[in-house]
């Protein structure tokens, strides 16, 4: 029969390897989502010219905004629903205001529905690509989006919803935990 020590070493290496693998899943997941677009996030493109054409069709476009729990900013699209033409450059803005009396950094995360429309939305500019949006106390800002919806968009998609959630990117976990335990009524 085999050598016990070798078996033990192999198995311990497997344990260590799987532990590291669990952490490797974090970047792997991002890469996988980037390649496949499974999580509905639209990436930035510099080359949207190829999508611009003259004979587009009309589709509905809706912007939705959410504030993550505990994020006090005012955050909303300047225009919620619009009709746009595919193949035409479209510009829109979101309004944001820091309603608190301290400087804050927000971060917007985007999502597309239906998710298979994702590949046909070419964003040239979006505030959602920024790592952080810094606003002084009381400061307001108009956040820009520039995009083209490709003509190749499948015919069965007649409406696109772009959703943005604003997060406080410097949130203190301990603060929220204290806040929550107040509600526990233990």
């Amino acid at each position: 029969m085999g050598n016990k020590k070798i078996t033990i070493l192999k198995l311990s290496a497997a344990v260590a390897g799987m532990y590291l693998f669990s952490f490797a899943l974090v970047p792997l997941y991002d890469v996988f989502c980037d390649i496949t677009g499974l999580n509905g996030k639209v990436a930035q493109t510099s080359n949207a010219e190829s999508s611009i054409s003259v004979e587009g069709r009309e589709i509905g476009l809706q912007f939705i905004s959410h504030n993550n729990a505990g994020m006090p900013w005012v955050f909303k699209p300047s225009k919620e629903v619009s009709k746009i033409k595919t193949g035409t450059l479209y510009e829109a803005t979101f309004y944001a205001k820091n309603t608190t009396d301290k400087m804050m950094t927000g971060r917007a995360v985007n999502s597309v529905a239906p998710s298979n429309a994702k590949d046909y939305i070419k964003k040239i500019e979006c505030f959602c690509f920024a790592e952080g949006i810094e606003l002084m106390p009381g400061e307001e800002i108009l956040l820009p989006i520039k995009m083209v919806v490709d003509d190749e968009l499948p015919d069965n998609i007649k409406n696109i919803v772009l959703s943005y959630t604003i997060f406080d990117s410097k949130i203190e976990h301990n603060l929220t935990m204290d806040h929550d335990s107040d509600h526990m009524g233990s």
Partner: protein, 528 residues
Amino acid sequence: MSAVIENHHDDHGHHGPAKGLKRWFYTTNHKDIGTLYLWFSFAMFLIGGAMAMIIRAELFQPGMQIVEPEFYNQMITLHGLIMIFGGVMPAFVGLANWLVPMMIGAPDMALPRMNNLSFWILPFAFFVLLSSLFMEGGAPNFGWTFYAPLSTTYAPPSTTFFIFSVHIMGASSIMGSINVIVTIMNMRAPGMGLMKMPLFVWSWLITAYLLIAVMPVLAGAVTMMLMDIHFGTSFFDAAGGGDPVLFQHIFWFFGHPEVYIMILPAFGIVSHIIETFSRKQLFGYSSMVWAMLSIAILSFVVWAHHMFTVGMPLAAELFFMWSTMLIAVPTGVKVFNWIATMFKGSITFETPMLFACAFVVLFTLGGFSGLMLAITPADFQYHDTYFVVAHFHYVLVPGAIFSIMAAVYYWIPKWTGNMYDERLGRLHFWLSFIGVNVTFFPQHFIGLAGMPRRIPDYALQFADWNMVSTAGAFLFGFSQVFFLFIVIKTVMGGKKATGEVWEGARGLEWTVDSPAPYHTFGTPPKVS
């Protein structure tokens, strides 16, 4: 399999167990440690069961009667964690400790001191987990699946203790698995090739590999939670660039193999019992081995069927639906083989056989509801309803737990030297069988009708079946106290068992005396 055994009685006496409590703290004997694991899991089974009684008592009628919603959430969380990590898994490890060395003709486990350590850290893990009930903010309340950010940003402070207890449980499982694999790979009796190993040994070999592959991933997941909570990282926090859905992927990458960890040893046990009481050789031994291997491999590519509603693209939903349904094929092979083994056998229905037959029928039923859940479009309706609760309780209670009870009745004469009381055993079986079905079958109905899981109150139209379910739960719960009585009675005394115990039982463990001597197979038996 036939075997020629020389029983070595000459080293008795001068090398028996130590006296008193020290025996249990210091022991490195696989039989002692197996006993410790089994009693520990029984204790956890009763504690987790008491929590289930609180849950069912609250659900007896609509409206809030007995507990606060916060406490109810703590109960469902701890019930799940304790039954999985404290009840089912240690019970199987205990059986492995007792049986694997005897079945392969080895004198002990390969790493006896690590064996002692891997048991004795378990009580501390569960002490830490249970103590969180008395902490400020209460015990973990986010369900046994502890999805982030519910378990990070919004969790009670005791979550840190939960994380450490999961780390300790993981360390214990990993050490136990290494021990099992090293024992099986290096210490089999001469002549016992891999394809001659008893199926329980095979099932544990595969289970141990699964544990080695996924317990470190669980440890990684809770470590990331710990860092998100205390060290300002953002693995699962979208505000910092993380992704909460990533948590679900990592969790279920562990979680799905975990459910097979809790059923593969049961497959092994049931194969032995059906073979013995049908008085026939098991039908399709090698297909049983291959079926278990394919189930184990497939378990790594089906995890996202737990999260169909999370917003996956069509291609992924289809892939996970089909890969999940594919698992029904090897499972079907196993069920077919068990039935083919019984076919034209001279069957008698002693208590272990009753439990094994109930296992085959009810586990298959749980498998069928699993197939229903695997249908992606249907799952959008069933997701997070009582139908899911009914499904996994059917595969875990009359599946895993019935197999453990069957194993206890089947091997307890070998462990104690005494026969259990057959009349009481059958009574326990029928009470459990009726109890389990009255409890969980109605949950299919209320689930399909739309009752959500993890809710302490419910709409009026679910009232009748919930009342039935609670009545069944108390019947099942109290019959397990009766089981405790039967086990203690058997340990204390009873009709003496022969070495063979069961007419026509196959396997090396039946070739030694009953009770099994403290040391067996000091000289390896020859397997032909």
